[in-house]
Amino acid sequence: MDSDDESLLESLLSGEHRALARVISKIENRSPGYRDLVSQLYAHTGNADVIGITGSPGAGKSTLVDKLAEAYRDRGETVGIIAIDPSSPFTGGAVLGDRIRMASTVGDMDVFVRSMSARGTLGGLSTATADAVKAMDAFGKDKIIVETVGAGQNEIDIVRTADSVAVLVPPGSGDDIQTLKAGILEIADIFVVNKADRDGADRTVQELREMVHIGEESGIGGGHHGVDTGLDGSDAVEDDAAGSDEGWTPPIVETVATKGTGVEAFIDELTTHRAYLVDSGARAEKVRTRYAEEIRTLLREDVHTMLEDELAESGGIDDLAEAVRQGETDPYSIATDVLAPVEACLENVETDASEDTDTE
């Protein structure tokens, strides 16, 4: 790490807001040296509660996050917020508008709001988000809220960086078959029916309750976090937690975020979930799963970058694409050709590694 980064890290750890902002930019930009910086952050993390909030556009996420932050501030806790908005697939540009709705806490620097756009692909956003959470955690934020639109798998990855995930469901968001579909509802630790003063709220609560109930009976559905951890630990706690938050039934909270109604109840449920995670040992497993995922994503990204560079050096992907268009070859053959030397290398690495262990 060069001396600039070292002093940046020092400033961040000593609580300078601009240093935190700058570190997050470096993370987002993948600036040279950002990796060393993030590696150094890990030693200072682990103290923050990370809360994920997701839901369809217009569900009221930003407003609820604003009220949540206000309530935490009233309790004397510091808050970091990461608000993620989509970026244009064509220009890469984005309008990040969530800040507008976070009006209760403006002027209070201890609420640190950072907008991120979905720039980059292939897990880049979830890596950047996870790293930005690390930066806020190391900075000393007590609560870190990650807010994203729940539109696809990418967002599900992102909220997984959180200890507790709240899914906002606005009233009248479809018939009950929607609640059976896979995806966003499955990741909820807590359901929030926001805009609960609207028509149809009772029905939405009822449908969610049924879904959670069915999930409980069959062991699938609501609150199921079925992630293949790929870890070989075999203690009972892990089996329990890897299957789901078994023993955790996602509660359903009703809120009217614009008025602040139900926010206290929501916080209580977050606290309860947190306590449950710690007491049941599920937290340890969750953290382990998260790190496993981080390692995988990093490896995937790195290999991808290496290959892109390799392709660029050998004339770029456009020529290859053109060759496919001309009918001279096909994507599968190209992939096999490009990867052949990599495969050969990996075989060598394996031999080296096993030789190393032999000699030890």
Partner: protein, 138 residues
């Protein structure tokens, strides 16, 4: 490395400060910046200088575009510049002003550290080109 270059993006805060309640122009700019591939954070209406400074620092923006129609630029803009300086953010933030700003007030704003003033009739392309050419290299 290709993917690293792709990750760079110019970040802008488009800010409405003070009492004027008209932000059509700010919306047009925000949209145009987005289409130019910038990341735009819009502040919303009726923000105080402190709030703008807070947003600019936390979001670590390269560019701060202040839109003022109310005529209060002489009091509000210096407050923002001072706030940026307090956080050590004044030197490497490109500050632009737009809206209704009389000719005789321009020099004062430029002295305060505003990089350029884009009055009514400025083409969007001109503004975007200016940002591309002058956004700070960090």
């Amino acid at each position: 490395m290709s993917s690293e270059q792709d990750a760079e993006s110019i970040r802008c805060l488009v800010a409405k400060v003070g009492l004027d309640g008209h932000d059509r122009g700010a919306h047009v700019i925000a949209r145009a910046f987005r289409d130019a591939g910038f990341e735009v954070i819009y502040s919303g209406l009726h923000k105080s200088p402190d709030e703008i400074v807070q947003a600019a620092v936390q979001e670590d923006v390269d560019v701060l575009g202040i839109s003022i129609l109310s005529g209060a630029h002489d009091t509000l803009v210096p407050k923002i510049m001072n706030g940026l300086e307090e956080y050590g953010a004044k030197d490497d933030t490109l500050v632009l002003a737009g809206g209704v700003i009389p000719d005789e007030d321009r020099e004062g704003l430029l002295d305060d550290g505003v990089a350029a003033i884009f009055g009514p009739g400025t083409s969007i392309e001109e503004t975007i080109d200016f940002v591309r050419e002058n956004a700070p290299q960090r």
